[in-house]
């Protein structure tokens, strides 16, 4: 018996996770074939076609329309992220404190919009924002405006439509983060003499930042690549990168240029994310895990 327990020469110590790496194989293969390889081809095409060189990138950074679309993309993603955060934080705060049936009900309210596709919801916003739309009717009826406004296409419509779609992706990580905050810490702060406002600002808010950080990253990164909503609600002046890429690829049939645009967006996104990670690691040294 005792002999069986002694490890043989060169035997690796047993760990709980031994062998689990095999589970990574199917998704790994899948991603390599259907994601990594096409991505590499996109990058290669941007550099090699129609002639090897950086000509495609010259156009991306040289033509004002492309540069404007890129900065517009970052700006829109930023505005949408901030709006989502401002709306989601109090909501998540209220939901995180509920429990039992109320929590389930709230969670359903958060998740239900995800059941409808972004296309349909963006069409819905077209009906709201168009010249003969619901919003203009309402503004006129209330006497707030005296003539119909042209809201479509426009950045307001894009922002509203995108916030609508991204909101759950901000709320969910916020709730997860907030529910992880030990209630005893709030009680302790209370007993130690902190009135509600101080308790929130000095204990709850800082401890909720990891959740905020996750939500902000998720919403911002996803927004950078948004297509349907800006395509339907934003006009030529409010083009975002993904719309432009689609146009170059499917309308102009200039695949090398589309590839260069896509690669640029990928690099911008990655750089922004790395900068963000650094900032977060610096500002959350004690909580960040």
């Amino acid at each position: 018996m005792a002999e069986a327990a002694t490890p043989g020469p060169g035997g690796r110590p047993w760990t709980l996770y031994r062998g689990y790496a095999v589970l990574l194989l199917p998704p790994g293969l899948f991603l390599a074939v259907f994601f990594l390889w096409p991505l590499i081809r996109v990058v290669l095409r941007s550099l090699l076609e129609p002639h090897p060189g950086l000509a495609n990138y010259g156009r991306v950074f040289g033509e004002a329309a492309f540069a404007r679309a890129l900065s517009n993309t970052i700006e829109t993603a930023g505005v949408v992220t901030v709006l989502c955060l401002v709306i989601a934080y109090p909501l998540a705060y209220a939901i995180a404190r509920a429990d039992g049936r109320r929590l389930k009900l709230f969670m359903i309210f958060v998740l239900v919009p995800l059941w409808t596709s972004a296309v349909i919801r963006s069409f819905g916003w077209m009906i709201v924002f168009q010249r003969q739309g619901v919003l203009n009717d309402l503004l006129l009826a209330l006497g707030i405006t005296h003539s119909r406004l042209t809201l479509l296409p426009g950045s307001l419509a894009v922002h509203v439509g995108m916030v609508h779609i991204m909101l759950p992706f901000m709320i969910l990580p916020l709730i997860a983060g907030m529910r992880g905050i030990d209630l005893n810490l709030m009680r302790a702060a209370d007993v130690l003499g902190a009135p509600p406002r101080r308790r929130f600002l000095e204990i709850f808010l800082p401890l909720s930042l990891p959740g905020v950080s996750a939500g902000v990253a998720l919403v911002f990164m996803t927004s950078l690549g948004f297509f349907i909503t800006p395509a339907l609600l934003g006009g030529a002046r409010h083009t975002m990168a993904a719309v432009l890429i689609e146009e170059e690829a499917n309308v102009q049939l200039d695949w090398p240029l589309a590839s260069a645009l896509a690669t640029t967006l990928l690099i911008v996104t990655t750089v922004l994310y790395l900068v963000y990670l650094r900032l977060m690691r610096r500002s959350l040294p004690l909580i960040g895990r």
Binding site: N184, R187, A188, V191, L192, G193, A194, L207, L286, I287
Partner: protein, 379 residues
């Protein structure tokens, strides 16, 4: 298990100098219901200024509920909480000026040790220079100078505990609540911290309301103890009183070990003695008791019983046979089978000259008249 030793409570050593005078705490018919479930039945309690007062009781007996109501984060269903005569029920916790140490310490993970201790001082708008001085002083009091800039996650359990203590006492609250502050520590550290807290208590002088389910700990540290069971205080008294005169079999067996015997018959036996026959048929002698009209039980403490190979001249002498014997730190713990198949527990200090009785050997158990304790047979 309660050794006789802790009965000389640390509380008996009077303090040198005290920083604040403790508050008087009075609970009047204080009660808590959780949707029909009674967590605390209407309870009256008086804790004296500067007292170290412990609440003990089994899990779910309402200790934390009582403490939570005093702290203010559990709203009472009924009753009043008076601190130095003023009813605080309507005040939120942050306006009660009470100190509290939580079982899991509840240190703020995003603040350093110094910031944790400074937190209540900042809330009280103390000037910065005074906060710094005070934090330094508190860190020295709990022997953690040099740890100021660490984060709580970088401290051991005992060190976190001391930070929690320093934080709770930094603003000189006149009443300090502690909910199983040592529950998460191992035995050695727990004993060290018991002394630390007592030392702390005599230094700061606040009234301490202390919750534990460790009766040894309560007996070691407390001036007085309240024993809770099923949401009710069943007995209040000094540790020694509770140990020597429990008012119910529950208290007798909760505080220390107890051999409890049901009584079949009681009669007077001169001079001034009681002759008690137990359900098993043992005949025991006790002091004449003032009130025995209610049903009583007999409690004999395992430490009070002598064990020998022949019956002596003691007031009580019972024949038996050793079932088993266990060695614990400095102690021998026998189980002895007596008349009626009943097992009696005996604890003797382990000394070189004391003979050890082997399993199966016939022995005589004996104890003094005063050690046959009559316990009212209330549930």
């Amino acid at each position: 298990m309660l050794d006789p030793k802790p009965l000389e409570s640390l509380a008996d050593r009077r303090p040198e100098k005290r920083a604040v005078s403790g508050a008087a705490l009075r609970l009047a018919a204080l009660a808590k219901d959780y949707g029909g479930v009674t967590a605390l039945a209407p309870t009256d309690l008086e804790v004296r200024p500067g007292e170290f007062f412990s609440l003990i009781g089994p899990s779910g007996s309402g200790k934390s509920t009582l403490l939570g109501m005093v702290a203010g984060f559990v709203p009472p269903s009924a009753g009043r909480i008076l601190i130095d005569g003023a009813d605080v029920v309507a005040l939120p916790p942050y306006r009660r000026n009470i100190g509290m140490v939580f079982q899991n310490y509840a240190l703020f993970p995003h603040m350093s040790v110094a910031e944790n201790i400074a937190f209540p001082l900042r809330m009280r708008k103390m000037p910065r220079s005074r906060i710094e001085a005070r934090v330094k002083e508190m860190l020295e009091t709990v022997r953690l100078a040099g740890f100021a800039e660490r984060s709580p996650a970088q401290l051991s359990g005992g060190q976190q505990q001391r930070v929690a203590l320093a934080r709770a006492a930094a603003y000189d609250p006149a009443l300090l609540l502690m909910d199983e502050p040592l529950g998460a520590l191992d035995k050695n550290l727990r004993e060290e911290m018991q002394y630390e807290i007592k030392r702390f208590h005599s230094k700061i002088g606040a009234t301490i309301l202390y919750v534990t389910h460790d009766q040894d700990e309560a007996a070691t540290m407390s001036d007085r103890i309240a024993i809770l069971n099923g949401g009710r205080i069943v007995q209040v008294g000094r540790p020694r009183e509770l140990y020597e005169a429990p008012n119910s079999p529950f208290v007798a067996s909760f505080l220390g070990e107890a051999n409890l015997f049901e009584v079949a018959a009681v009669s007077n036996a001169p001079p001034m003695r009681l002759r008690v026959v137990t359900r098993e048929g043992l005949t025991l002698a006790a002091h004449q008791h003032a009130r025995i009209e209610a049903g009583v039980m007999i409690c004999v403490r395992p430490e009070a019983i002598q064990i020998g190979s022949s019956g002596g001249a003691a007031a009580n002498s019972v024949e038996g046979r050793v079932i088993d014997v266990v060695y614990t730190a400095g102690m021998l713990r026998y189980r002895i089978e007596v008349m009626g198949g009943r097992a009696v527990i005996v604890r003797r200090p382990l000394q070189r000259q004391v003979p050890i009785f082997e399993v199966g050997s016939p022995v005589y158990l004996s104890w003094d008249l005063a050690d046959t304790i009559l316990v009212p047979n209330t549930p």
